[in-house]
C-alpha cells in the first residue's frame, strides 16, 4: 500500500470515529457538569447559610445532584441514539458506594465539617482517577487536578477554601464535562 492510500485510510478512520462519538453522545460529560454545579451551589452556598445549616445544604445539593445523575443514567440506558452503555448502572453504583463510604467515615470518626469538604473532594478525585483508567486518561488528569487543587487550597488559603473549590473546582468540572460532550476525542 502506498503512503497516499494509507493517509486516506487514516483520515477516514478519524472522520468515522469523530462522527460516531458525536452521534453516540457524551453521557459521561453530563455527570461532570452536574457535579460541577453541585460544587458551585454547595461551596458558594456555604457563604449564605448559617453555619448550622451547612450540613443540610450539602445534603440537599448532593441529594438533588444524585437524583439528576440517576435520571441521566436512566436516559442513557433508554437513549434513542442507538448506543447503550452496559457500565452505566455499575458506574452509578460505584459513585453511590463512594458517597456511602464517606458518610460512614464522617460518622464513625466524627470528622469536623471543615475536613468533610476536603474528604469529599479527595474522594471525588479518587473516583475520577479510577474512571479515567477505565475510560479516558483525560478524566484521570482531571482527578489529579482536583486533588492538587483541593489540598493546595486547604493548606494555602484555608479561609477561602470554599470559594476556591466552588469557583475553580466547580468550573473545572463543568468545563471538562462540556469538553467531553464535544465528542472531539480522537
Amino acid at each position: 500500500m502506498d503512503a497516499r492510500n494509507a493517509q486516506d485510510d487514516l483520515k477516514a478512520i478519524r472522520r468515522i470515529m469523530h462522527h460516531t462519538r458525536r452521534r453516540a453522545g457524551e453521557h459521561g460529560g453530563w455527570y461532570m457538569i452536574i457535579a460541577g454545579f453541585m460544587w458551585l451551589f454547595g461551596f458558594i452556598g456555604q457563604y449564605f447559610v448559617p453555619q448550622d445549616w451547612v450540613g443540610w445544604l450539602w445534603l440537599a445539593v448532593n441529594g438533588s445532584g444524585l437524583l439528576l445523575m440517576a435520571w441521566v443514567t436512566v436516559q442513557a440506558g433508554r437513549s434513542g441514539s442507538g448506543v447503550k452503555n452496559q457500565l452505566s448502572y455499575p458506574i452509578f453504583v460505584f459513585w453511590l458506594s463512594l458517597m456511602i463510604f464517606d458518610l460512614l467515615l464522617i460518622w464513625l470518626f466524627d470528622i469536623s465539617w471543615d475536613m468533610v469538604g476536603l474528604l469529599a473532594l479527595l474522594t471525588v478525585a479518587l473516583g475520577y482517577v479510577l474512571m479515567g483508567i477505565l475510560y479516558d486518561w483525560f478524566i484521570s488528569v482531571i482527578g489529579c487536578a482536583i486533588a492538587v487543587l483541593s489540598v493546595g487550597a486547604f493548606l494555602l488559603v484555608p479561609s477561602h477554601f470554599s470559594l476556591v473549590m466552588g469557583i475553580l473546582g466547580g468550573g473545572l468540572l463543568i468545563g471538562s464535562g462540556l469538553w467531553l460532550r464535544r465528542g472531539t476525542r480522537s
Binding site: 503512503a3 485510510d9 487514516l10 460516531t20 442507538g82 448506543v83 447503550k84 477505565l134 476525542r185
Partner: protein, 99 residues
C-alpha cells in the same frame, strides 16, 4: 513493524471497526445505528459483520426491546487490538514516506 490486517483493511470493514472502536469499553451500538452512521444497506453490513465476528473482532447480541428485535454490536478486546495494530501499520507507511 506491524503488518496491515487483511481483514480490517477492506474499506467497509475498516469503517465498521473504526466506529466500534471509537465507542468506550462497555458501550454497544445497535445495528440500525451502525447502518445509518456508515450509510450501508442492511445486507452489506450483515455480511461484513459476520466476517468480523468469525475472526473474533466483533461480538453481537440479539435481544427484544418493546417486542422489537434489536441487535447490539461491540468490538472485542481482540478486535480493538487488531484495529490498533492496523492503524499503527498505516502510520508506519506514512512515516516512512515522509522520512
Amino acid at each position: 513493524m506491524t503488518e496491515l490486517n487483511a481483514l480490517i483493511h477492506q474499506p467497509t470493514r475498516l469503517r465498521i471497526m473504526a466506529a466500534l472502536v471509537s465507542l468506550d469499553r462497555g458501550e454497544q451500538a445497535d445495528f440500525v445505528f451502525l447502518q445509518e452512521l456508515l450509510d450501508l444497506t442492511s445486507g452489506n453490513l450483515s455480511v461484513h459483520l459476520q466476517k468480523l465476528e468469525e475472526a473474533g473482532y466483533v461480538a453481537t447480541e440479539k435481544t427484544f426491546e418493546d417486542r422489537r428485535p434489536k441487535t447490539w454490536i461491540w468490538a472485542t478486546a481482540e478486535g480493538r487490538e487488531a484495529f490498533v495494530e492496523h492503524v499503527d501499520a498505516l502510520e508506519s507507511i506514512v512515516a516512512r514516506a515522509q522520512s
